[in-house]
């Protein structure tokens, strides 16, 4: 598993360094499956985005296998894939095969092979029949599956997923969750689904920009539930 190390990290609001949105946090994330839970606006996405340098820390450092997310941003992003809540913002090409092929551009494969490889990857996720179909015409579940396929296409070591199932129905939630839990990669999963969180090896509860609990997922879920009912 990758070594993700946060060392004295704080995050402030962009354009306003007086407002802290993540208080000083030091963490070492090495488990295979890690859940981040907490209420709306608690700072889950902020923490998730730190892990591949989409958000830069105001103080401290974030390192993935000793690569600094700010200094070695490109190398970190090759290692850490990110799945967003809304696949519409992640899918950028008109057809499914083209979108996966776009991920493969940085592999420097020749174009014909890129397309072949893209169709092959779609096949792995049961999407081969949609290769030349418009991304616009997919269902929400298919879109999210395609988004995950596009991220996995470049074979990263870590997948950070920010509420990947929030927009999905029960069936597709299960499909995406089973896919994520079945990966060889390390997975950091932001979720409001406590059932999913308890399938992880470790869970962090975030409240008001600080880590309120860190440890066993069942206990984490209980502590989060209790904090809500208080």
């Amino acid at each position: 598993m990758a070594q993700i190390v946060l060392d004295g990290v704080t995050v402030t609001a962009p354009g306003d360094d007086e407002t802290t949105i993540l208080g000083e946090t030091s963490l070492r994330l090495t488990e295979r499956r890690i859940a981040l839970i907490g209420g709306n606006g608690s700072g889950k996405s902020t923490l998730a985005r730190l892990l591949n340098g989409l958000t830069a820390p105001a103080t401290g450092s974030v390192r993935v296998d000793d690569l600094d997310t700010v200094r070695d941003g490109a190398a970190v992003r090759r290692r850490v894939g990110f799945v967003f809540t809304d696949p519409d913002s992640q899918l950028v090409m008109p057809t499914c095969a083209e979108d996966v092929a776009l991920s493969l551009r940085r592999t420097r494969l020749p174009k014909a092979e890129r397309r072949e490889r893209a169709v092959e990857i779609l096949g792995t996720y049961g999407l081969a029949h949609l290769a030349d179909v418009s991304v616009h015409s997919l269902s929400g579940g298919q879109k999210q599956l395609l988004a995950v396929a596009g991220v996995l296409a470049t074979d990263p070591d870590v997948i950070v997923a920010d509420e990947p199932t929030t927009l999905l129905d029960l069936h597709n939630t299960r499909r995406i969750a089973d896919l994520l839990f079945g990966l060889r990669q390390q997975v950091v999963l932001v979720t409001h689904d406590l059932e999913l969180a308890t399938r992880c090896d470790r869970a962090l509860v975030i409240a008001g920009g600080v880590i309120a609990f860190d440890g066993d997922p069942a206990e984490a879920a209980a502590s989060y539930r209790e904090s809500v009912s208080r």
Binding site: F82, D88, P94, R115, H136, G150
Partner: protein, 203 residues
């Protein structure tokens, strides 16, 4: 759902599909110049006929094309109506004909060319600009993204119109324009984030 054809590749085997990307884009550019330079209703009608002929030749589907053209058809009618009232029918025909033929040919080109090929062609064409600090790969990607953004923005516009209608605000331009602008910017930022996360705009 507004399934615009702009930015939507539909595989096929017609001559138009098989034409190399470079000549195809060059033809589109030449057509655009000719349409803008040649005045008068008759040339506009000729251009429109030519664009329709190419669309039929490329077999991109009458119904899908009509659907993709609907917003432009609406715009063309508004412009033509205005010219008819202010100037007269020749200018009205010219304006509508020019607009429709240009957009139609652009639709045909994007529908018959894989986006990847468009990116590569533009990247190659911009290669000489590298020495002025331009990153050709980035320019190619930016243009492909602009093509892809068109159906997205139309989608957002129709959702915004529905939301305004639901609140009884459909006559208030602020209820349409402000959310449309904010959501378009938010979508652009999210796409930028996603590209960065996928390592596509790095190095």
């Amino acid at each position: 759902m507004t399934a615009s054809l702009l930015g939507m590749y539909r595989p096929g085997t017609t001559v138009v599909h098989r034409l190399a990307v470079g000549p195809k884009l060059a033809t589109l550019a030449a057509f655009a110049v000719a349409v803008t330079l040649l005045r008068g209703p008759w040339s506009a009608l000729c251009f429109l006929a030519a664009a329709v002929a190419v669309a039929l030749w490329a077999r991109i589907g009458v119904r899908a094309t009509a659907r993709a053209m609907r917003p432009i058809l609406f715009l063309a009618t508004v412009f033509a109506g205005f010219q008819l009232w202010r100037v007269g029918w020749p200018l009205a025909v010219e304006v509508a004909g020019d607009l429709l033929s240009l957009v139609l040919l652009a639709v045909v080109v994007t529908a018959t060319t894989p986006t990847d090929d468009v990116i590569d062609a533009i990247t190659r064409a911009c290669e000489p600009l590298r020495r002025f600090g331009v990153d050709p790969e980035r320019v190619g990607l930016a243009i492909a993204l602009m093509m892809r953004a068109v159906p997205d923005i139309l989608d957002i516009a129709s959702q915004t119109r529905d939301a305004a209608k639901a609140r009884g605000l459909e006559r208030d331009p602020r209820a349409l324009l402000v959310p449309l602008a904010l959501r378009t910017v938010a979508r652009a930022r999210a796409t930028g984030d996603a590209l960065a996360a996928r390592g596509i705009v790095d190095d």
